[in-house]
Amino acid sequence: MIRPLTLAAGLALLVLAAFLDLSLALRGLLFAWAFCLGPALGALALLLTHGLTGGRWGDALRPTFAAFTATLPWLALVAVVPAFFLGSLYGWPHGLEERPGVGTYWLNEPLFLARAALSLGFLAALALFLPAGRRAGVGVSAVGLVLYVVAVTVVALDWLMPLDPKWVSTTYPALVAVQTILEALALAALFRAATEPAVAEDLGGLLLAALLAVVYLAFMQYLVMWYSNLPEKVAWYAAREAGFWPVLPVLAFLAGGLVPFLVLLPRASRRDPGTLAVMGGLVLLGVLLHLAWMVLPAGPGGWVLLPAAGGGLLVLGGLALALPTGHRQREAKRGAHGAHDA
């Protein structure tokens, strides 16, 4: 009932934004795409990690993570839309004049599309063929995890970092990747995927660790660039210091970082699925704000970004929630029961 309406409203916002300013509309859509892809990418990493480590948390959360990864092939297909407008989105070869080699050998349309097809295709295939009903094997997990890191690095380096074509950060792909893991854990907590206190405690611990990792990586990237004080590095932060943009990371740190960190420190609150759900929601909000701050202020701004980002979130978020993920969840639950009987 509400879903077709949400989708229609989101699409209308996107189309309106595209008519007003195609470049800004695409950037807003890219942000929404990156955010909605996050839980699927993060869940994939967690499923592969669980294949190597084992543990109660993975067995209990596999139905949820399997449902997240089931959205990956569909969301990967959505990338076709911005792929048609790469020129408007990234403005190549503008911005690459000082480093012509980058344009010749990396940031040009044919190579970009080839890498996108390879990396997103690989991730989608991994999401499709990873067993939902049982723990992934050690060999598959090890090889999958190594290739996963390469694929996610390529996605972050290709789709997000070139929004500021002169800017390079070696921490950035890791930050994007770990943030997807945080997003998957936060969404699992928000959906109350862990019902038993012991599993909730594991999920809370993982959430806390991923949160620390994201805050650490984001701050270290900032500290290194602030300290070196080189114009092309600092420009990225300077562009995000204008207008109301600085409010976003501060809000993300306070609401999505500091508050959940302090609340989840005592063991009792990590064992309570209700508290965990609220903190998961806050962390998710923090990721949303942080990602918006990372992606949206790249290049010339404008209020068109707002309907574009909002419309993109409505369409892709609604799509991700409406996608047929139930069969993966049922498969995973059947697998869990089978293991119990055996």
């Binding site: 900032y222 500290l223 602030w226 300290y227 004080n229 420190l265 009792a268």
Partner: protein, 172 residues
């Protein structure tokens, strides 16, 4: 006098604790060669308050580390490094973090020694024969002589009824 019941398996110890608590004993302790899951819950031990102490000491350490740098760099010996502000909080964060860890570690260590009464050179339990196997393969239920329900004969009979390998006692 304190009585000990010696068991060969962790489950026997957990079962014995349950029955001793059911019989009304409150000053119980357990010795085991490894961390037995569910032991703290069975004994009714409340979560340690050590982490509260560590958190407070960590916060004090962080504040001390931060303001030490502010005082040194901006007040005591102002030094312009590359045009950066004198109070450069970004650069101060590393030392602030290190001091937080140092404060939490030292505070936790001192609080642990203080709360447990360590270092202790002697405890009556050390003289019980066979107690060294508590760090090898045996599980001991300890009933403190100060327990309100403790009576030398009755408690010994109760522990014997739990079918331990042996019931031992301290000399004092």
């Amino acid at each position: 006098m304190t009585l000990l019941a010696e068991f060969a398996a962790a489950d026997d110890l957990l079962d014995a604790i349950k029955r001793a608590r059911g019989a009304g004993y409150s000053r119980l302790d357990a010795l085991a060669p490894f961390a037995v899951s569910g032991l703290a819950e069975a004994l009714g031990i409340r979560p340690s308050r050590l982490r509260v102490v560590m958190f407070a000491c960590g916060a004090i350490g962080a504040a001390a580390g931060f303001f030490l740098q502010v005082w040194m760099n901006a007040i005591d010996y102002p030094l312009n490094t590359g045009g950066r502000p004198l109070v450069a909080w970004q650069a101060f964060m590393l030392v602030t973090f290190e001091f937080a860890v140092l404060g939490a570690a030292v505070g936790g260590f001192v609080a642990l020694l203080w709360r447990t009464g360590l270092p202790r050179l002697h405890d009556p339990l050390f003289a019980v024969s066979g107690i060294e196997r508590a760090s090898q393969d045996r599980f001991f239920l300890v009933v403190d002589g100060g327990d309100p329900k403790f009576e030398p004969e009755g408690t010994r009979a109760f522990l014997e009824a739990l079918r331990p390998i042996a019931v031992r006692e301290t000399s004092t």
